[in-house]
Protein backbone atom coordinates (compact mmCIF):
# COMPACT_ATOMS: atom_id res chain seq x y z
CA UNK A 1 0.00 0.00 0.00
CA UNK A 2 1.40 3.39 -0.94
CA UNK A 3 1.49 6.14 1.64
CA UNK A 4 -1.06 8.91 1.18
CA UNK A 5 0.33 12.21 -0.08
CA UNK A 6 0.22 14.95 2.60
CA UNK A 7 -0.49 18.51 1.56
CA UNK A 8 -1.53 21.52 3.64
CA UNK A 9 -5.29 22.14 3.74
CA UNK A 10 -4.48 25.86 3.83
CA UNK A 11 -1.30 26.82 2.00
CA UNK A 12 1.34 28.83 3.87
CA UNK A 13 -0.34 29.02 7.29
CA UNK A 14 1.93 26.44 9.01
CA UNK A 15 5.07 24.41 8.49
CA UNK A 16 4.66 20.82 7.35
CA UNK A 17 7.27 19.53 9.82
CA UNK A 18 5.50 16.49 11.26
CA UNK A 19 7.55 16.39 14.48
CA UNK A 20 7.61 20.08 15.46
CA UNK A 21 5.16 22.04 13.33
CA UNK A 22 4.67 25.79 13.79
CA UNK A 23 1.94 28.18 12.78
CA UNK A 24 3.41 30.81 10.46
CA UNK A 25 2.61 34.36 11.47
CA UNK A 26 4.12 37.73 10.71
CA UNK A 27 5.64 40.40 12.91
CA UNK A 28 5.66 44.13 12.27
CA UNK A 29 9.27 45.32 11.96
CA UNK A 30 8.31 48.73 13.42
CA UNK A 31 6.33 47.88 16.58
CA UNK A 32 6.86 44.14 17.00
CA UNK A 33 3.18 43.12 17.01
CA UNK A 34 2.48 39.55 15.90
CA UNK A 35 -0.23 38.63 13.41
CA UNK A 36 -1.91 35.35 12.58
CA UNK A 37 -3.03 34.84 9.90
CA UNK A 38 -0.07 36.75 8.44
CA UNK A 39 -0.44 40.47 7.97
CA UNK A 40 1.62 41.69 5.02
CA UNK A 41 0.52 45.17 3.98
CA UNK A 42 -0.16 47.35 7.00
CA UNK A 43 0.15 47.11 10.76
CA UNK A 44 -3.13 47.06 12.67
CA UNK A 45 -1.71 48.68 15.79
CA UNK A 46 -3.38 52.13 15.64
CA UNK A 47 -0.17 53.78 16.91
CA UNK A 48 1.94 52.20 14.16
CA UNK A 49 2.12 52.88 10.43
CA UNK A 50 4.44 49.95 9.75
CA UNK A 51 4.30 48.33 6.32
CA UNK A 52 7.17 45.84 6.60
CA UNK A 53 6.78 42.43 8.20
CA UNK A 54 8.97 39.46 9.01
CA UNK A 55 7.55 35.98 8.66
CA UNK A 56 7.80 34.29 12.06
CA UNK A 57 6.99 30.83 13.36
CA UNK A 58 4.66 31.17 16.36
CA UNK A 59 5.12 29.39 19.69
CA UNK A 60 3.99 25.80 19.30
CA UNK A 61 2.76 25.46 22.87
CA UNK A 62 0.24 27.41 24.94
CA UNK A 63 -2.52 27.07 27.50
CA UNK A 64 -6.21 26.41 26.96
CA UNK A 65 -8.33 29.58 27.13
CA UNK A 66 -11.46 27.50 26.54
CA UNK A 67 -12.73 24.47 24.66
CA UNK A 68 -15.83 22.81 23.24
CA UNK A 69 -16.73 20.30 20.57
CA UNK A 70 -18.74 19.83 17.38
CA UNK A 71 -21.42 17.27 18.13
CA UNK A 72 -23.22 17.88 14.85
CA UNK A 73 -21.74 17.79 11.36
CA UNK A 74 -20.76 21.37 10.36
CA UNK A 75 -21.95 22.68 6.98
CA UNK A 76 -19.70 23.12 3.91
CA UNK A 77 -16.95 24.00 3.26
CA UNK A 78 -16.19 21.53 6.11
CA UNK A 79 -15.60 18.11 4.52
CA UNK A 80 -16.95 15.37 6.73
CA UNK A 81 -15.96 11.73 6.93
CA UNK A 82 -18.91 9.40 6.42
CA UNK A 83 -20.25 8.94 9.01
CA UNK A 84 -19.44 12.21 10.78
CA UNK A 85 -17.13 11.86 13.80
CA UNK A 86 -17.52 14.51 16.56
CA UNK A 87 -14.32 16.39 17.43
CA UNK A 88 -13.18 18.72 20.18
CA UNK A 89 -12.10 22.32 19.56
CA UNK A 90 -9.72 24.37 21.71
CA UNK A 91 -8.83 28.06 21.94
CA UNK A 92 -5.20 28.16 23.06
CA UNK A 93 -3.38 31.21 24.40
CA UNK A 94 0.22 31.61 23.27
CA UNK A 95 2.23 33.22 26.05
CA UNK A 96 4.90 35.06 24.10
CA UNK A 97 2.55 36.31 21.35
CA UNK A 98 -0.32 36.95 23.84
CA UNK A 99 -2.75 35.72 21.24
CA UNK A 100 -5.48 33.07 21.32
CA UNK A 101 -5.60 30.65 18.38
CA UNK A 102 -8.49 28.28 17.68
CA UNK A 103 -8.11 24.81 16.27
CA UNK A 104 -9.48 21.32 16.36
CA UNK A 105 -8.15 19.03 19.08
CA UNK A 106 -6.44 15.82 17.90
CA UNK A 107 -8.81 12.95 17.19
CA UNK A 108 -9.43 10.70 20.17
CA UNK A 109 -9.24 13.53 22.73
CA UNK A 110 -12.69 14.65 23.91
CA UNK A 111 -13.74 17.61 26.04
CA UNK A 112 -13.72 15.43 29.17
CA UNK A 113 -9.91 15.38 28.96
CA UNK A 114 -9.56 19.17 28.65
CA UNK A 115 -9.50 21.99 31.18
CA UNK A 116 -8.97 25.77 31.06
CA UNK A 117 -5.27 26.47 31.66
CA UNK A 118 -4.09 23.07 30.41
CA UNK A 119 -0.82 23.11 28.39
CA UNK A 120 -1.24 22.14 24.74
CA UNK A 121 1.06 21.71 21.77
CA UNK A 122 0.59 22.14 18.07
CA UNK A 123 0.51 19.05 15.85
CA UNK A 124 -0.51 18.25 12.30
CA UNK A 125 -3.38 15.93 11.45
CA UNK A 126 -5.57 15.19 8.47
CA UNK A 127 -8.52 17.59 8.18
CA UNK A 128 -10.04 15.60 5.31
CA UNK A 129 -9.10 13.38 2.40
CA UNK A 130 -9.28 14.38 -1.24
CA UNK A 131 -8.92 11.23 -3.32
CA UNK A 132 -5.59 9.70 -2.23
CA UNK A 133 -4.36 12.97 -0.73
CA UNK A 134 -4.47 13.91 2.95
CA UNK A 135 -5.30 17.56 3.48
CA UNK A 136 -3.42 18.41 6.66
CA UNK A 137 -4.30 21.08 9.26
CA UNK A 138 -2.94 22.22 12.64
CA UNK A 139 -4.56 20.75 15.72
CA UNK A 140 -4.05 21.11 19.46
CA UNK A 141 -2.90 18.18 21.56
CA UNK A 142 -2.47 17.92 25.36
CA UNK A 143 1.24 18.41 26.05
CA UNK A 144 2.73 15.03 26.91
CA UNK A 145 3.72 14.66 30.56
CA UNK A 146 2.46 18.12 31.57
CA UNK A 147 -0.08 18.77 34.30
CA UNK A 148 -2.16 21.92 34.42
Amino acid sequence: MTEAKRVPAIEGWYTMDQAQPHLLGSRCTSCGTYFFPKQKQFCRNPACEGTAFDDVPLSRTGRIWSYTNASYQPPEPYVSPDPFVPFAIAAVELEKERMIVLGQVVSGTGVEKLRVGMPMELVLETLHKEGETDKVIWKWKPLAGARS
Binding site: A9, I10, P37, A47, P75, P77, I89, V101, L102
Partner: protein, 393 residues
Protein backbone atom coordinates in the same frame (compact mmCIF):
# COMPACT_ATOMS: atom_id res chain seq x y z
CA UNK B 1 -29.78 66.47 28.04
CA UNK B 2 -29.60 67.98 24.59
CA UNK B 3 -28.54 64.74 22.91
CA UNK B 4 -31.87 63.06 23.52
CA UNK B 5 -34.64 62.21 21.08
CA UNK B 6 -38.20 61.07 21.78
CA UNK B 7 -39.55 57.62 20.93
CA UNK B 8 -43.03 58.43 19.65
CA UNK B 9 -44.01 54.99 18.41
CA UNK B 10 -42.86 51.39 18.30
CA UNK B 11 -44.23 48.39 16.41
CA UNK B 12 -43.32 44.88 15.34
CA UNK B 13 -44.36 42.09 13.04
CA UNK B 14 -44.54 38.87 15.08
CA UNK B 15 -41.40 36.71 14.74
CA UNK B 16 -41.81 33.31 13.10
CA UNK B 17 -40.88 31.26 10.06
CA UNK B 18 -43.50 32.72 7.79
CA UNK B 19 -41.59 32.40 4.51
CA UNK B 20 -43.01 35.60 3.05
CA UNK B 21 -41.28 38.68 1.62
CA UNK B 22 -39.39 40.80 4.19
CA UNK B 23 -41.04 43.96 2.85
CA UNK B 24 -44.42 42.72 4.01
CA UNK B 25 -43.19 42.36 7.62
CA UNK B 26 -41.40 45.71 7.47
CA UNK B 27 -44.49 47.56 6.31
CA UNK B 28 -46.58 45.84 8.98
CA UNK B 29 -44.13 46.93 11.71
CA UNK B 30 -43.85 50.47 10.26
CA UNK B 31 -47.63 50.93 10.19
CA UNK B 32 -47.86 49.67 13.77
CA UNK B 33 -45.14 52.12 14.89
CA UNK B 34 -46.76 55.02 12.99
CA UNK B 35 -50.19 54.22 14.48
CA UNK B 36 -48.59 54.07 17.94
CA UNK B 37 -46.89 57.45 17.36
CA UNK B 38 -49.86 59.37 15.99
CA UNK B 39 -47.56 60.61 13.20
CA UNK B 40 -48.79 60.26 9.59
CA UNK B 41 -46.42 58.56 7.14
CA UNK B 42 -46.69 61.64 4.90
CA UNK B 43 -45.20 63.72 7.74
CA UNK B 44 -42.10 61.52 8.20
CA UNK B 45 -39.04 63.41 6.94
CA UNK B 46 -36.39 60.71 7.12
CA UNK B 47 -36.69 56.96 6.63
CA UNK B 48 -33.85 54.78 7.88
CA UNK B 49 -33.73 51.10 6.96
CA UNK B 50 -31.55 48.32 8.35
CA UNK B 51 -30.33 46.23 5.42
CA UNK B 52 -30.73 42.49 4.94
CA UNK B 53 -28.16 40.53 2.90
CA UNK B 54 -30.43 37.58 2.23
CA UNK B 55 -33.25 39.10 0.22
CA UNK B 56 -31.49 40.41 -2.90
CA UNK B 57 -31.17 44.03 -4.00
CA UNK B 58 -34.33 45.26 -2.24
CA UNK B 59 -32.67 44.16 1.00
CA UNK B 60 -29.42 46.07 0.28
CA UNK B 61 -31.45 49.26 -0.16
CA UNK B 62 -33.99 48.49 2.55
CA UNK B 63 -34.69 52.16 3.40
CA UNK B 64 -35.83 52.95 -0.13
CA UNK B 65 -37.63 49.61 -0.44
CA UNK B 66 -39.76 50.41 2.60
CA UNK B 67 -40.31 54.01 1.45
CA UNK B 68 -41.63 52.79 -1.89
CA UNK B 69 -43.81 50.15 -0.23
CA UNK B 70 -45.33 52.73 2.13
CA UNK B 71 -45.74 55.11 -0.83
CA UNK B 72 -43.04 57.52 -2.08
CA UNK B 73 -43.55 60.84 -0.31
CA UNK B 74 -40.19 62.52 -0.85
CA UNK B 75 -38.59 61.81 2.54
CA UNK B 76 -34.79 61.62 2.79
CA UNK B 77 -33.56 58.05 2.93
CA UNK B 78 -30.79 55.96 4.45
CA UNK B 79 -29.85 52.28 4.67
CA UNK B 80 -27.42 50.92 7.26
CA UNK B 81 -25.66 47.59 7.45
CA UNK B 82 -23.68 46.41 10.48
CA UNK B 83 -24.59 42.71 10.66
CA UNK B 84 -26.62 42.08 13.83
CA UNK B 85 -26.12 45.68 14.95
CA UNK B 86 -27.71 47.09 11.76
CA UNK B 87 -30.88 48.21 13.54
CA UNK B 88 -28.96 50.34 16.03
CA UNK B 89 -26.97 51.97 13.25
CA UNK B 90 -30.17 52.79 11.37
CA UNK B 91 -31.51 54.27 14.61
CA UNK B 92 -28.26 56.21 15.15
CA UNK B 93 -28.48 57.65 11.62
CA UNK B 94 -32.02 58.88 12.30
CA UNK B 95 -31.02 60.35 15.65
CA UNK B 96 -28.11 62.23 14.06
CA UNK B 97 -30.41 63.73 11.41
CA UNK B 98 -32.74 64.94 14.15
CA UNK B 99 -30.06 66.24 16.50
CA UNK B 100 -28.36 68.11 13.66
CA UNK B 101 -31.64 69.87 12.97
CA UNK B 102 -31.98 68.44 9.46
CA UNK B 103 -35.31 66.85 10.28
CA UNK B 104 -37.78 66.58 13.14
CA UNK B 105 -39.31 63.15 12.80
CA UNK B 106 -37.94 59.87 11.40
CA UNK B 107 -39.04 56.27 10.86
CA UNK B 108 -36.58 53.40 11.43
CA UNK B 109 -37.32 49.88 10.13
CA UNK B 110 -35.56 46.51 10.20
CA UNK B 111 -37.01 43.33 8.68
CA UNK B 112 -35.77 39.94 7.53
CA UNK B 113 -36.72 36.68 5.92
CA UNK B 114 -34.21 33.94 6.80
CA UNK B 115 -33.43 30.67 5.00
CA UNK B 116 -33.66 27.31 6.75
CA UNK B 117 -30.69 25.60 8.43
CA UNK B 118 -27.10 26.75 9.14
CA UNK B 119 -25.99 30.12 7.84
CA UNK B 120 -23.08 28.95 5.67
CA UNK B 121 -20.45 31.12 3.90
CA UNK B 122 -20.13 31.64 0.15
CA UNK B 123 -18.65 28.77 -1.92
CA UNK B 124 -15.16 28.26 -3.36
CA UNK B 125 -11.64 28.04 -1.86
CA UNK B 126 -11.28 31.38 -0.06
CA UNK B 127 -8.60 31.28 2.68
CA UNK B 128 -8.46 35.11 2.80
CA UNK B 129 -11.94 35.17 4.37
CA UNK B 130 -11.79 34.26 8.08
CA UNK B 131 -15.43 33.24 7.93
CA UNK B 132 -14.61 30.67 5.24
CA UNK B 133 -11.55 29.37 7.09
CA UNK B 134 -13.35 28.68 10.33
CA UNK B 135 -16.21 26.83 8.62
CA UNK B 136 -13.63 24.80 6.65
CA UNK B 137 -12.13 23.80 10.01
CA UNK B 138 -15.55 22.83 11.32
CA UNK B 139 -15.90 25.85 13.62
CA UNK B 140 -19.55 26.96 13.53
CA UNK B 141 -21.31 29.78 15.39
CA UNK B 142 -22.21 27.65 18.44
CA UNK B 143 -18.47 26.91 18.85
CA UNK B 144 -17.87 30.52 19.85
CA UNK B 145 -20.86 30.67 22.22
CA UNK B 146 -19.74 27.40 23.82
CA UNK B 147 -16.15 28.61 24.37
CA UNK B 148 -17.45 31.41 26.58
CA UNK B 149 -19.86 29.10 28.42
CA UNK B 150 -17.20 26.50 29.10
CA UNK B 151 -14.77 29.11 30.34
CA UNK B 152 -17.36 30.25 32.90
CA UNK B 153 -17.74 26.66 34.10
CA UNK B 154 -14.01 26.20 34.64
CA UNK B 155 -13.32 29.67 36.06
CA UNK B 156 -16.47 30.65 37.92
CA UNK B 157 -18.24 27.38 38.65
CA UNK B 158 -21.15 27.90 36.24
CA UNK B 159 -23.14 24.71 35.80
CA UNK B 160 -25.25 23.14 33.09
CA UNK B 161 -28.18 23.80 35.43
CA UNK B 162 -27.40 27.53 35.38
CA UNK B 163 -27.48 27.60 31.57
CA UNK B 164 -30.74 25.64 31.46
CA UNK B 165 -32.23 27.92 34.12
CA UNK B 166 -31.61 30.92 31.85
CA UNK B 167 -33.51 29.23 29.03
CA UNK B 168 -36.35 28.35 31.40
CA UNK B 169 -36.47 31.96 32.60
CA UNK B 170 -36.41 33.43 29.08
CA UNK B 171 -39.13 31.03 27.94
CA UNK B 172 -41.29 32.03 30.88
CA UNK B 173 -40.81 35.73 30.08
CA UNK B 174 -41.48 35.21 26.39
CA UNK B 175 -44.55 33.04 26.97
CA UNK B 176 -46.45 36.28 27.66
CA UNK B 177 -45.13 38.09 24.56
CA UNK B 178 -47.49 38.17 21.54
CA UNK B 179 -44.59 39.03 19.19
CA UNK B 180 -42.39 36.09 20.27
CA UNK B 181 -42.02 33.09 17.96
CA UNK B 182 -41.63 30.52 20.72
CA UNK B 183 -44.11 30.92 23.58
CA UNK B 184 -43.81 27.44 25.04
CA UNK B 185 -42.61 27.24 28.64
CA UNK B 186 -39.67 24.87 29.21
CA UNK B 187 -38.72 22.74 32.19
CA UNK B 188 -35.14 22.16 33.35
CA UNK B 189 -35.53 18.49 32.38
CA UNK B 190 -36.55 19.37 28.82
CA UNK B 191 -33.61 21.73 28.32
CA UNK B 192 -31.06 19.39 29.91
CA UNK B 193 -32.51 16.49 27.93
CA UNK B 194 -32.05 18.22 24.56
CA UNK B 195 -29.12 17.17 22.36
CA UNK B 196 -25.62 18.53 22.92
CA UNK B 197 -24.68 20.85 20.06
CA UNK B 198 -21.32 22.23 21.20
CA UNK B 199 -20.43 21.06 24.69
CA UNK B 200 -21.75 22.42 27.10
CA UNK B 201 -24.42 23.99 24.86
CA UNK B 202 -27.62 22.08 24.24
CA UNK B 203 -30.02 22.46 21.36
CA UNK B 204 -32.67 24.33 23.37
CA UNK B 205 -30.04 26.80 24.56
CA UNK B 206 -29.07 27.95 21.05
CA UNK B 207 -31.30 30.44 19.24
CA UNK B 208 -32.94 29.82 15.87
CA UNK B 209 -33.11 32.11 12.81
CA UNK B 210 -36.46 33.78 12.28
CA UNK B 211 -38.49 36.07 10.06
CA UNK B 212 -39.59 39.25 11.81
CA UNK B 213 -39.62 43.03 11.81
CA UNK B 214 -39.45 45.98 14.19
CA UNK B 215 -39.94 49.71 13.61
CA UNK B 216 -39.55 52.89 15.65
CA UNK B 217 -40.69 56.49 15.12
CA UNK B 218 -38.40 59.04 16.77
CA UNK B 219 -38.49 62.83 16.84
CA UNK B 220 -36.88 65.87 18.36
CA UNK B 221 -38.02 66.69 21.91
CA UNK B 222 -39.55 69.90 20.55
CA UNK B 223 -41.63 68.01 17.99
CA UNK B 224 -42.76 65.61 20.72
CA UNK B 225 -43.90 68.56 22.86
CA UNK B 226 -45.66 70.13 19.88
CA UNK B 227 -47.80 67.02 19.36
CA UNK B 228 -48.52 66.60 23.07
CA UNK B 229 -45.96 63.83 23.70
CA UNK B 230 -43.55 65.69 25.97
CA UNK B 231 -43.43 62.70 28.33
CA UNK B 232 -42.51 60.17 25.65
CA UNK B 233 -39.75 57.67 26.44
CA UNK B 234 -36.39 59.01 25.25
CA UNK B 235 -33.29 57.58 23.63
CA UNK B 236 -30.53 58.70 25.99
CA UNK B 237 -27.58 56.99 24.28
CA UNK B 238 -26.61 54.86 21.30
CA UNK B 239 -23.18 53.25 21.39
CA UNK B 240 -21.86 51.81 18.13
CA UNK B 241 -18.16 51.67 18.99
CA UNK B 242 -15.60 49.52 17.17
CA UNK B 243 -13.16 47.33 19.10
CA UNK B 244 -9.91 48.76 20.41
CA UNK B 245 -6.61 47.14 19.40
CA UNK B 246 -5.53 44.71 20.78
CA UNK B 247 -8.95 43.05 20.86
CA UNK B 248 -7.95 40.18 23.10
CA UNK B 249 -11.11 38.07 23.42
CA UNK B 250 -12.15 35.40 20.96
CA UNK B 251 -14.60 36.97 18.50
CA UNK B 252 -16.67 35.22 15.86
CA UNK B 253 -15.67 34.62 13.02
CA UNK B 254 -11.94 35.04 13.72
CA UNK B 255 -9.59 32.09 14.05
CA UNK B 256 -7.20 34.09 16.28
CA UNK B 257 -7.36 37.20 18.47
CA UNK B 258 -5.17 40.25 18.09
CA UNK B 259 -1.78 39.90 19.71
CA UNK B 260 -1.44 41.86 22.96
CA UNK B 261 2.32 41.36 23.01
CA UNK B 262 3.06 45.03 22.33
CA UNK B 263 -0.22 46.88 22.96
CA UNK B 264 -2.43 46.21 25.97
CA UNK B 265 -5.39 43.90 25.38
CA UNK B 266 -8.97 45.18 25.54
CA UNK B 267 -12.37 43.55 25.89
CA UNK B 268 -14.57 44.78 23.04
CA UNK B 269 -17.82 43.72 24.69
CA UNK B 270 -17.03 45.51 27.94
CA UNK B 271 -16.38 48.73 26.02
CA UNK B 272 -19.79 48.85 24.33
CA UNK B 273 -21.95 49.68 27.34
CA UNK B 274 -19.24 51.88 28.87
CA UNK B 275 -19.69 54.29 25.98
CA UNK B 276 -23.48 54.18 26.29
CA UNK B 277 -23.44 54.91 30.03
CA UNK B 278 -20.99 57.77 29.50
CA UNK B 279 -23.19 59.31 26.81
CA UNK B 280 -26.37 58.97 28.90
CA UNK B 281 -24.75 60.21 32.11
CA UNK B 282 -26.14 57.10 33.78
CA UNK B 283 -24.64 54.00 35.34
CA UNK B 284 -25.52 50.34 35.84
CA UNK B 285 -27.11 51.22 39.20
CA UNK B 286 -29.76 53.26 37.31
CA UNK B 287 -30.89 50.38 35.08
CA UNK B 288 -34.36 48.87 35.64
CA UNK B 289 -34.28 46.27 32.85
CA UNK B 290 -31.87 44.99 30.20
CA UNK B 291 -32.35 43.33 26.82
CA UNK B 292 -29.20 41.40 25.93
CA UNK B 293 -27.99 39.37 23.02
CA UNK B 294 -28.56 35.74 23.95
CA UNK B 295 -27.54 33.87 20.79
CA UNK B 296 -27.06 31.11 23.33
CA UNK B 297 -28.50 31.15 26.85
CA UNK B 298 -25.16 31.25 28.75
CA UNK B 299 -24.21 34.49 26.97
CA UNK B 300 -26.71 36.29 29.20
CA UNK B 301 -24.24 35.77 32.06
CA UNK B 302 -21.41 37.44 30.16
CA UNK B 303 -23.64 40.36 29.18
CA UNK B 304 -24.74 40.92 32.80
CA UNK B 305 -21.09 41.50 33.57
CA UNK B 306 -20.30 43.55 30.46
CA UNK B 307 -23.25 45.82 31.31
CA UNK B 308 -21.96 46.20 34.86
CA UNK B 309 -25.08 44.66 36.41
CA UNK B 310 -22.67 42.62 38.54
CA UNK B 311 -18.92 42.15 38.90
CA UNK B 312 -16.98 39.73 36.66
CA UNK B 313 -17.48 36.18 37.91
CA UNK B 314 -20.66 37.03 39.82
CA UNK B 315 -23.30 36.57 37.13
CA UNK B 316 -24.07 33.01 38.26
CA UNK B 317 -24.84 34.31 41.77
CA UNK B 318 -26.99 37.09 40.27
CA UNK B 319 -28.94 34.50 38.25
CA UNK B 320 -29.36 32.10 41.16
CA UNK B 321 -30.64 34.92 43.40
CA UNK B 322 -33.58 35.44 41.05
CA UNK B 323 -32.58 39.08 40.43
CA UNK B 324 -32.71 38.71 36.65
CA UNK B 325 -36.26 37.39 36.40
CA UNK B 326 -39.30 39.66 36.13
CA UNK B 327 -40.07 40.69 39.70
CA UNK B 328 -36.37 40.58 40.59
CA UNK B 329 -34.03 43.51 41.16
CA UNK B 330 -32.78 43.76 37.56
CA UNK B 331 -34.83 41.74 35.06
CA UNK B 332 -32.85 40.62 32.00
CA UNK B 333 -34.61 39.86 28.71
CA UNK B 334 -38.19 40.47 29.88
CA UNK B 335 -39.19 40.07 26.19
CA UNK B 336 -37.94 36.48 26.24
CA UNK B 337 -34.86 37.49 24.21
CA UNK B 338 -33.54 35.65 21.18
CA UNK B 339 -34.40 32.41 22.97
CA UNK B 340 -38.05 33.18 22.23
CA UNK B 341 -37.64 35.31 19.11
CA UNK B 342 -34.74 33.79 17.16
CA UNK B 343 -32.45 35.96 15.06
CA UNK B 344 -33.91 38.30 12.46
CA UNK B 345 -30.66 40.16 11.89
CA UNK B 346 -31.72 43.69 10.81
CA UNK B 347 -34.68 43.75 13.20
CA UNK B 348 -33.34 42.45 16.49
CA UNK B 349 -31.50 45.52 17.80
CA UNK B 350 -34.68 47.54 17.13
CA UNK B 351 -36.87 44.87 18.74
CA UNK B 352 -34.85 45.30 21.94
CA UNK B 353 -35.63 49.03 21.93
CA UNK B 354 -39.33 48.34 21.25
CA UNK B 355 -39.48 46.04 24.26
CA UNK B 356 -37.80 48.54 26.60
CA UNK B 357 -40.12 51.30 25.36
CA UNK B 358 -43.16 49.20 26.25
CA UNK B 359 -41.58 48.42 29.61
CA UNK B 360 -40.88 52.08 30.38
CA UNK B 361 -44.40 53.08 29.39
CA UNK B 362 -45.86 50.36 31.61
CA UNK B 363 -47.49 48.71 28.58
CA UNK B 364 -45.79 45.30 28.75
CA UNK B 365 -48.80 43.52 30.24
CA UNK B 366 -48.08 40.25 32.06
CA UNK B 367 -44.30 40.65 31.50
CA UNK B 368 -44.22 44.19 32.95
CA UNK B 369 -41.15 45.20 34.98
CA UNK B 370 -42.73 47.33 37.72
CA UNK B 371 -41.61 50.95 37.83
CA UNK B 372 -39.10 50.63 34.98
CA UNK B 373 -37.36 53.97 34.38
CA UNK B 374 -34.14 53.17 32.51
CA UNK B 375 -33.46 50.32 30.09
CA UNK B 376 -30.29 49.23 28.30
CA UNK B 377 -29.74 46.95 25.31
CA UNK B 378 -26.67 44.99 24.26
CA UNK B 379 -26.18 43.54 20.84
CA UNK B 380 -23.28 42.38 18.70
CA UNK B 381 -22.71 41.86 14.99
CA UNK B 382 -19.86 40.14 13.14
CA UNK B 383 -16.65 41.93 12.19
CA UNK B 384 -16.40 44.56 14.92
CA UNK B 385 -19.98 45.76 15.17
CA UNK B 386 -21.89 46.06 18.39
CA UNK B 387 -24.46 48.32 19.90
CA UNK B 388 -25.96 49.41 23.16
CA UNK B 389 -28.97 51.70 23.42
CA UNK B 390 -30.14 53.35 26.63
CA UNK B 391 -33.75 54.49 26.91
CA UNK B 392 -35.23 56.40 29.82
CA UNK B 393 -38.36 58.19 30.96
Amino acid sequence: MSGEVAILGVGMHPWGKWGRNFVEYGVHAARAALADSGVRWQDVQFISGAATMRCGYPGYVAGATFAQALGWQGAQVNTSYAACASGSQALAAARSKILSGECEVALVIGSDTTPKGFLAPAKGYRPDDPDWVRFYMGITNPTYFALYARRRMDLYGATEQDFAAIKVKSAEHGSANPNARYRKKFTMEEVLGSNMVADPLRLFEVCATSDGAAAIVISSLEYARKIGRAKAVRVAAISTVTPRFASSEVEMPDIATDSAAVVEGHSFRASIARKAYEEAGLGPEDVSAAEVYDLASPMELDWCEYLGLCKPGEAEALLRSGATRIGGRIPVNPSGGLACFGEAVPAQALAQVCELTWQLRGEAGPRQVQGAKVGITANQGLFGHASSVIVKR
